[in-house]
């Protein structure tokens, strides 16, 4: 997945969802371990690894990855 959201850090503020230019984030319907609703990536391919969600995430809950071609 191009982004990973740490459900022990996320507080469900929805900033990432609001600012994702590709609108590929959505809240889960069940609460996470701390009682907050955590977003998830609805469409890995749609994500452009732009990192905007991570930038605006107040709680540093998001890690962003880029697809790279390897030889392996």
């Amino acid at each position: 997945m191009k982004i990973q959201i740490n459900d022990k850090l996320c507080k469900g503020c929805e900033f990432c969802i609001a600012f994702c230019p590709k609108k590929v984030l959505k809240l889960q319907s069940e609460r996470g371990p701390k009682g907050y609703f955590i977003p998830y990536l609805t469409d890995n391919d749609g994500c452009i690894s732009c990192g905007i969600c991570a930038t605006i995430c107040p709680d540093g809950a998001i890690e962003v990855f880029k697809e790279v071609e390897t030889d392996g």
Binding site: L9, C13, F15, G60, V64, G72
Partner: protein
């Protein structure tokens, strides 16, 4: 050929790997994160000395990873003065809320800025006393409600919201004074760069540097986190205009 994932963004090291104590959507948390990033980008993790205020940001005690001092309410610039004078090589920065800096600590911030103390103050302006439950601050907007101005701040009773960046910029000694809003990714990026610049200038001994960050307080504003960002755009930023108010590097 296979596809692999390479990590291109991760949480900075200088904040602990735990959930912060701030409310959901509180921009104190974001401010802390970008300060940590700026510290790391300058390779200053070991050298940074964080002066914490009294206010919600005192929760940084359990969140920040690095040397820290807790200052009495409003006195962070005085504490930082003592530290920086004794240890001029340390990267010293004080983080203060608006009750802390623009009310009780007004004499300390203006005096430190005026003396040109060579540290950085990061000022999180959320237009309220967050930690004590949302009383009117000197930065509360006209008409904005608070627990001590239930009908909204009135000019007649309480005057106008105080513009700290402008006041500090007008003094002779400060080297860099800027205001950023943390309610958009763009603002966040600019703020991080501003903080980094302030830190660099401090390390170069250029003088006092001051960063005002417009933040929110969804809890005491009584809004959802997202609503609070919108409120900032529509109200806060209209009055507290972001921008660089002083920069001796540009003037020179």
């Amino acid at each position: 050929m296979a596809t692999e994932y390479k990590k291109i963004y991760q949480r900075p090291y200088a904040i602990m790997p735990v959930m912060s104590g701030y409310c959901p959507g509180c921009l104190h948390s974001l401010a802390t994160k970008i300060i940590a990033e700026a510290v790391e980008e300058l390779g200053q993790q070991e050298n940074a000395m964080h002066v914490l205020p009294v206010g919600c940001a005192a929760l940084g005690l359990l969140y920040w990873r690095g040397d820290m001092v807790g200052a009495a309410h409003g006195r962070a610039p005085a504490v930082a003065t003592g530290i920086k004078r004794c240890c001029p090589d340390r990267l010293v920065f004080a983080y203060q809320g608006d009750g802390d800096l623009a009310a009780i600590g007004l004499a300390e911030i203006i005096s430190a800025a005026n003396r040109g103390e060579k540290f950085t103050v990061i000022f999180a302006n959320n237009s309220t006393y967050g930690m004590t439950g949302g009383q009117m601050a000197p930065t509360t907007l006209i008409g904005q409600k608070s627990t001590t101005s239930v009908y909204g701040r009135s000019v007649d009773e309480a005057g106008y919201p105080i513009k700290m960046a402008e006041i500090i910029a007008q003094l002779e000694a400060p080297a860099y004074v800027a205001r950023f809003a943390l309610n958009t990714p763009k603002g966040v990026n600019e703020a991080r760069k501003g903080i980094k610049k302030a830190f660099r200038m401090q390390l170069e001994g250029k003088g006092f540097t001051f960063i005002e960050l417009l933040t929110n307080c969804p809890t005491n504003w009584g809004m959802s986190p997202l609503k609070s960002l919108q409120y900032m755009t529509e109200n806060t930023m209209k009055y507290f205009v972001p921008g660089v108010y002083k920069d001796v590097e540009v003037e020179a």
